[in-house]
């Protein structure tokens, strides 16, 4: 079933319908948070966050049995080897990401950019979520998981996050 979303126009139709459900979830006055990057990119510290179900093989997999998804997250060390990583997510076709992790979690490219001096540095860890979250799990995500990770980003002193969806 998830292979049908490999058709871009089908994915956009799904996005349009999901957007109608999600708009009601955005709290407050609808304003969008925004902070300018106040230093050169070559001095900035970045972090990767993905909702593609990326985690270490040694960590518990995301819960695929709960129809509301899994609001927990996994910390992925910056110095991880690619073969230590796996993907648990049944709501999209991740065969290409399995074949080349850079399709969804481009850590190798960001390491290159640090070596080139394009980016100042990377955080000591990155974050993996599983991006099919609804109902009760969505409430847990908004009340607990997201604020926890936000606090960890502050502790890491990051200047920007690079987010990749599934």
């Amino acid at each position: 079933m998830n292979r049908i979303y490999a058709i871009p126009s089908v994915a956009q139709l799904w996005a349009s319908r999901a957007a109608q459900r999600s708009a009601a979830l955005v709290a407050g006055d609808g304003s969008i948070p925004f902070t300018r990057l106040h230093k050169p990119l070559s001095a900035a510290r970045g972090i990767l966050i993905t909702t593609g179900g990326v985690h270490l093989k040694t960590q518990p997999p995301f819960d695929m049995e709960n129809s509301d998804g899994d609001a927990s997250y996994r910390e992925i060390p910056d110095n991880v080897a690619p073969d230590e990583i796996t993907i648990t997510h049944k709501y999209y076709d991740h065969r290409d990401a399995d074949a080349d992790l850079n399709v969804i979690f481009p850590l190798a490219h960001f390491h290159d950019l640090v070596r080139q001096g394009v980016i100042g540095s990377l955080a000591s860890r990155h974050f993996g979520f599983m991006g099919h979250i609804e109902g009760e799990q969505l409430a847990i995500l908004m009340k607990y998981s997201a604020p926890e990770v936000a606090a960890k980003l502050r502790a890491e002193g990051v200047d920007f996050a690079f987010l990749t969806p599934a």
Binding site: Q12, S22, F34, L41
Partner: protein, 88 residues
């Protein structure tokens, strides 16, 4: 900043900055073993990071799926780039 594979959804949730690619779900950076394509998406996202001057910008990269040719980005173009409206 975010890569978006679902423009309407990105607009609905209010992302500070995003680059949109109309590609299959599960492929925010493109195809496997296509480093030039993947690095181009990263370059365009970082370019938006340093140039966006207002929240909610979604830049449509306009790349067709499996019908483009990519080259290594000129990363030096990110050096010293400022947000629009920012004094140099």
């Amino acid at each position: 900043m975010s890569v978006s594979l679902a423009r309407d959804l990105t607009e609905a949730v209010g992302t500070p900055r995003a680059v949109f690619v109309k590609w299959p779900l599960g492929h925010p950076l493109g195809e496997p073993h296509a480093p030039l394509q993947q690095r181009t998406v990263i370059f365009r996202a970082l370019h938006l990071l340093v140039t966006a001057s207002q929240p909610g910008v979604i830049e449509d990269l306009g790349f067709r799926w499996r019908r483009e040719t990519y080259t290594e980005p000129d990363w030096s173009k990110l050096e010293g780039t400022k947000q629009e409206g920012t004094k140099q």
